[in-house]
C-alpha cells in the first residue's frame, strides 16, 4: 500500500513519467510535477471550472481526478492547444481577437471546455455555448466577449 506511485501519462502529445503521491490531484501533477502552469486551480472542489483539461478528448475537472487515475490516458491542457511552433492556436487566437479574457485566470479552463464543445458540435449556437460554459466561472468579462470568442472560433472553422 504505497503512498507514492510511478505513473505514465501522455500529456500534450508526449509521454511523461513521474512518481507522485497517490493523493495528488491531476491539476497539481500538471502544475507542480510537469510545470504546466497554464492549468489553474480556483475552488479545488469542482465548482469553478478553472482547472478544466481534456482527458482522452473529454472535458474533465482536473481537481476532481487523481493523477494516478490518469495513468495510461491522454491529457491535453491549454498548452497543448497551441500551434506546433508554440504560437496561439485558432481557439486561443479567437479569445485574443475578441477580448475573451481580462485577468485570464479562467481562460485556460474556458478554452479547454470550448475545445471539447467544438469537437462535439463545431457550430454551436450562442445558447449552446452559454449552457456548456456555465460550468466555468469568470469574474471579469461578464461572459459576453467569451461567447463572441467561441462564435468567432466556430465561424473560422468552415
Amino acid at each position: 500500500m504505497a503512498k507514492e506511485k510511478t505513473i505514465r501519462v501522455k500529456v500534450n502529445g508526449s509521454e511523461r513519467r513521474a512518481t507522485v503521491e497517490v493523493r495528488r490531484n491531476l491539476a497539481d501533477f500538471l502544475r507542480e510535477d510537469l510545470e504546466l502552469t497554464g492549468t489553474h486551480l480556483g475552488c479545488e472542489h469542482g465548482v469553478c471550472g478553472a482547472c478544466t483539461v481534456l482527458v482522452d478528448g473529454e472535458a474533465v475537472r482536473s481537481c476532481l481526478m487523481l493523477a494516478v487515475q490518469a495513468e495510461g490516458h491522454e491529457v491535453t491542457t491549454v498548452e497543448g492547444l497551441t500551434t506546433p511552433d508554440g504560437e496561439p492556436g485558432p481557439l486561443q487566437q479567437a479569445f485574443w481577437d475578441n477580448h475573451g479574457m481580462q485577468c485570464g485566470f479562467c481562460t485556460p479552463g474556458m478554452i479547454c471546455a470550448t475545445a471539447a464543445l467544438l469537437r462535439e458540435n463545431p457550430h454551436p449556437t450562442a445558447e449552446q455555448i452559454r449552457e456548456r460554459l456555465s460550468g466555468n466561472l469568470c469574474r471579469c468579462t461578464g461572459y459576453q466577449d467569451i461567447i463572441a470568442s467561441v462564435l468567432a472560433a466556430a465561424a473560422e472553422d468552415k
Binding site: 490531484n25 469542482g46 471550472g49 476532481l64 471546455a113
Partner: protein, 293 residues
C-alpha cells in the same frame, strides 16, 4: 484544499476489489467517478485510510438491455447514460435526469451508480430509481443482494450499502407501452445542484385513463419522496388539467421539506407543486403521443 493522505489501490478484478473492501471495511472508500468523493476529500470532509479505485475494473461501464430490463454497470458515466439511444427511447426520464446533472465535465466522470451510492438529497438519480421501481445490485465478498429504493435510501447521504459492499449494477424495469416519462428540476442556474426535481412516469390505458402513475421527488427530504397518495388519486381517471393540479397540490401537502441556505421549506413546497404539475402534464402528453388517449 488538498486531499489528506491515503493508501490507494486500483484493483484489476472485482474479486480483488471486494476482498480489499472486506479486509479494510472500516476505513476504505470506493472511488468511481469521484465527482462527490473528490470534493469531500479536498475539503477534508472525508478522510478514508484507503481509496479503492474501481475505474480499472474491466467491463463495468456497460449500458445494456436484458429481458426488457435496463442494466447499467457501476462505471457507466452520466454522459453515456444521457446520450444512449436505447435509454433515450425506452427510459427518457433517466436520460433527462442524467443530462441535468452538473456540467459537461462533471457528467463525463460521474456515474449513475456512484450518484445512488452517495445519495445526495438533491441528486436526480435517486428519484428516478424510486419512480421507476428500479433496483440496485450490491456485491460483497460474502455474496450479492438486490435492493429497491425504499430499502436502499435511509436518510441524508445514508444508504443500506455496507462498508464491505460495492454497488455493481443498477436495474430499471421496462416501461409499459403507452408510458410517458420525464424528469424536470429547478436549479438557479444550469448545472447547479437542483433545489427540487421530479421524476414522473405515467401509463395510459386503452380508454385513455391513467392506468399507472409514478411520481418521485428529490430535494424535499433526506431520501427521494415517492408521492403514492397523489398517484392513487389519479389512477383510473382521465387526464385533466384540474386533476393534475389537484394531485400536484397534494404532493406539496404531503412532503415535509426543510429550510436551508438554498431555499425555504415554503419555496420547496411551491416548487414541488409546480414541477409535479409540469412533470405529470408532460408525461401524460408523451404517453398519449404513443397511442394512449
Amino acid at each position: 484544499m488538498k486531499a489528506p493522505a491515503f493508501d490507494y489501490e486500483a484493483p484489476a478484478t472485482l474479486e480483488e476489489a471486494l476482498g480489499l473492501l472486506q479486509a479494510r471495511a472500516d476505513d476504505a472508500k470506493v472511488l468511481a467517478g469521484g465527482q462527490s468523493l473528490m470534493p469531500m476529500l479536498n475539503m477534508r470532509l472525508a478522510r478514508p485510510a484507503l481509496i479503492v479505485d474501481i475505474n480499472r475494473l474491466p467491463g463495468l461501464d456497460y449500458i445494456r438491455i436484458a429481458g426488457g430490463q435496463l442494466q447499467v454497470g457501476a462505471l457507466a458515466r452520466h454522459t453515456a447514460v444521457a446520450s444512449h439511444p436505447e435509454v433515450k427511447k425506452g427510459w427518457p426520464v433517466l436520460a433527462e435526469a442524467a443530462a441535468q446533472i452538473g456540467h459537461d465535465a462533471i457528467r463525463n466522470r460521474g456515474t449513475l451508480a456512484g450518484s445512488l451510492a452517495h445519495s445526495d438529497p438533491t441528486a436526480e438519480h435517486p428519484a428516478v430509481l424510486a419512480a421507476l421501481d428500479g433496483e440496485v445490485v450490491v456485491r460483497s465478498a460474502k455474496g450479492e443482494r438486490t435492493l429497491k429504493a425504499d430499502d436502499f435510501f435511509l436518510g441524508y447521504l445514508t444508504t443500506a450499502l455496507q462498508p464491505d459492499e460495492l454497488l455493481t449494477e443498477v436495474r430499471f424495469p421496462a416501461l409499459a407501452p403507452r408510458t410517458g416519462s420525464t424528469f424536470v428540476e429547478f436549479a438557479p442556474r444550469v448545472g447547479d445542484f437542483a433545489v427540487v426535481g421530479v421524476a414522473a412516469a405515467v401509463t395510459l390505458g386503452g380508454d385513455g385513463s391513467w392506468q399507472d402513475v409514478r411520481l418521485a421527488l428529490t430535494g424535499v427530504g433526506g431520501t427521494p419522496f415517492r408521492a403514492r397518495q397523489a398517484e392513487s388519486a389519479l389512477k383510473g381517471k382521465k387526464p385533466t388539467a384540474a386533476d393534475i393540479q389537484a394531485a400536484a397540490a397534494q404532493v406539496a401537502e404531503a412532503i415535509e421539506p426543510d429550510s436551508d441556505i438554498k431555499a425555504s421549506a415554503r419555496y420547496r413546497r411551491h416548487l414541488a407543486r409546480t414541477l409535479s404539475e409540469r412533470a405529470l402534464t408532460t408525461a401524460a402528453e408523451r404517453a398519449a403521443g404513443q397511442g394512449g388517449r
